[in-house]
Amino acid sequence: MAYNHKDVAANRPSRLTSGHRMCAGCGAPAVARMVLKAVKPEDHAVIACATGCMEVSTFIYPYTAWTDSFVHTAFENAGATLSGVEAAYKSMKRQGKLPEDNHTKFIAFGGDGGTYDIGLQSLSGAMERGHDMVYVCYDNGAYMNTGIQRSSATPRFADTTTSPAGSVIPGKMQSRKDLAKVMVGHHLPYVAQTLALGNFKDLYEKAEKAIYTEGACFLNVMAPCPRGWGYNTEDLMEINKLAVETCYWPLYEVVDGVYHITYKPTNKQPIENFLKPQKRFKHMFKPGNEWMIEEFQKEVDARWQELLDLEAMTNKAE
């Protein structure tokens, strides 16, 4: 069924209720809300969360913002925790210990800290074992919950509290890990990269596919952080748009190993347009630091080209 924004965004109740304590202008709750809207209203969901901003802001005893069942145990193990829940479902369903008409979907949320870094092993295990679940990484590009420390998702040159832009070392010196491709290397039925863009169509449709594709699926969703990135809270959607239009965060999906780029900008914008509104890149615009912007652009271009090549290559093979 074609995506109907009014039906999904306005008419369908949110499974993550308001009143949670995420910051104004944070990208993550919009992601969680929209992903969960892709769960059929008649289906139950068990949501697992890695320790992080989302968990500590949505489930502070004795209040919860989640209308589905929710489990949080620790930082590095949302994949493993949800594996256990899903295994229980399979086992109990097989033994007739759950009603025939119990249809439960399993969705994990983790930030880039809990996913790219400390939780990578647990995620890899859960994906390799093929549990029928979706793991959603809301990638805000640093450990925001503990106060903006660099992660392997932090882009090169970004100023964070453990990669500060100093007089000798100008921010993070390493490039960011390409997690979606790491997941593609697991030969999953569905891997996608997305974010909250425009009317949320891309995010919603990918979430729906991931949730209703049998097996382990992975979504990497960029979710800007106003505190860590240093943009004005009202500019969230603009930052998302610039990430896509500059090809910093390409939108694509990989279905059974075949790449489809779901949005190709007609006029690819220069990376400055994405970097400029963010305080974490401020030092890159000082006179004498032009090389940093050039390097950044080169990396974006190379990764975009690689993606175009992968799309061409995997579709030719079909």
Binding site: E55, Y61, S69, V71, N77, A80, A88, Y89
Partner: protein
Amino acid sequence: MGIRERLSGNEAAAIAMKQINPDVVAAFPITPSTEIPQYFSTFVSNGQVDTEFVAVESEHSAMSACIGAEAAGARAMTATSANGLSLMWEMIYIASSLRLPIVLSLVNRAVSGPLNIHNDHSDAMGVRDAGWIMLFSESNQEAYDNLLMAHRIAEHKDVLLPLMVCQDGFITSHSIENIELLEDDKVKAFVGEYHPEHYLLNEKEPIAIGPLDLQAYLFEHKAQQGNAMKAAKKVIAEVSKEFEALTGRKYEFFESYKMEDAERVIVCMNSTAGTTKAVVDELREKGEKVGLIKVRMFRPFPAEEIAEALKGAKAVAVLDKSDSLNGAGGALFEDVVSAMYTNNIHVPTVNYVYGIGGRDTTTKEINSVYSDLNSVVGNDKVENPYRYLGLRG
């Protein structure tokens, strides 16, 4: 009237798990408990159990998956040893705080480092304050029996705590001994079905588990865990009585071996109790008044009962198969001494750290402890109460 078999401790644990038929088992291999998931996955492959076996990529994930499964409404079990338990450590605390009655078969082994694969109790002692019920087993039979009682205890509504059954790595896990098994149907009837009150997969009542729990509530929640641990004593006693009626095998908080008029007493756990019994028998034949307290229920600790049992002794030696490296004494020693002190019982007591890293402990050494105790009798203040047994000079 039971099935007579010859099994290793690991086989006994695996058979117990087969008969319990849990909904989920998540485990990762580690010596010397590896055989348990090996045997168990064979039961799964051959359709002898209904279990979903999750071959996780680490012990941290094993306990995480058990937590997820148990929270989902399933019965979940696992097995591990030493560094496997160390890697689980974070999740061990979380399992008990979420009040999930997971059952773990712990085959005790020395925790690194340096690396060693043999038996001592340093793994178990590392989680002694984690809010798990801990039952120790002298033999294969006891490891099997304790596992059959485990769910009845852990899942009791007054308890709802995870439980680990300990046995000695290699010494019992890999030694084949005679064992009496219960018939499958009797185990099924005894263990019963698991019907949790609240669980994730109940779509009629969604729940949230594992909150951020701050200053306003965490203290109360921890006190509830503490109270559940206290309540577990009564439940363990009741379930053990019921088990005795079914099998004729008697289990108490601890076994008092030839304690009636005992003056010199050893307190220890697991397989060393077997060695000690041989020495007690030998010395009793010579007319010496010696006895043994073998602690089965280490958590909750039966402080009052142990103090009472030691009341008539003239000297006590507590054997710790793990060194607390605190300059004062091992964990069991400190618990026993504190139990006596708070119950106003004053018996001169010494501590022997022994058997570290699988060092053999012989009847000769146990004999030397009873003999050392002769010089402890009558002491007001014991000189050098924190000692080593079997350490090369």
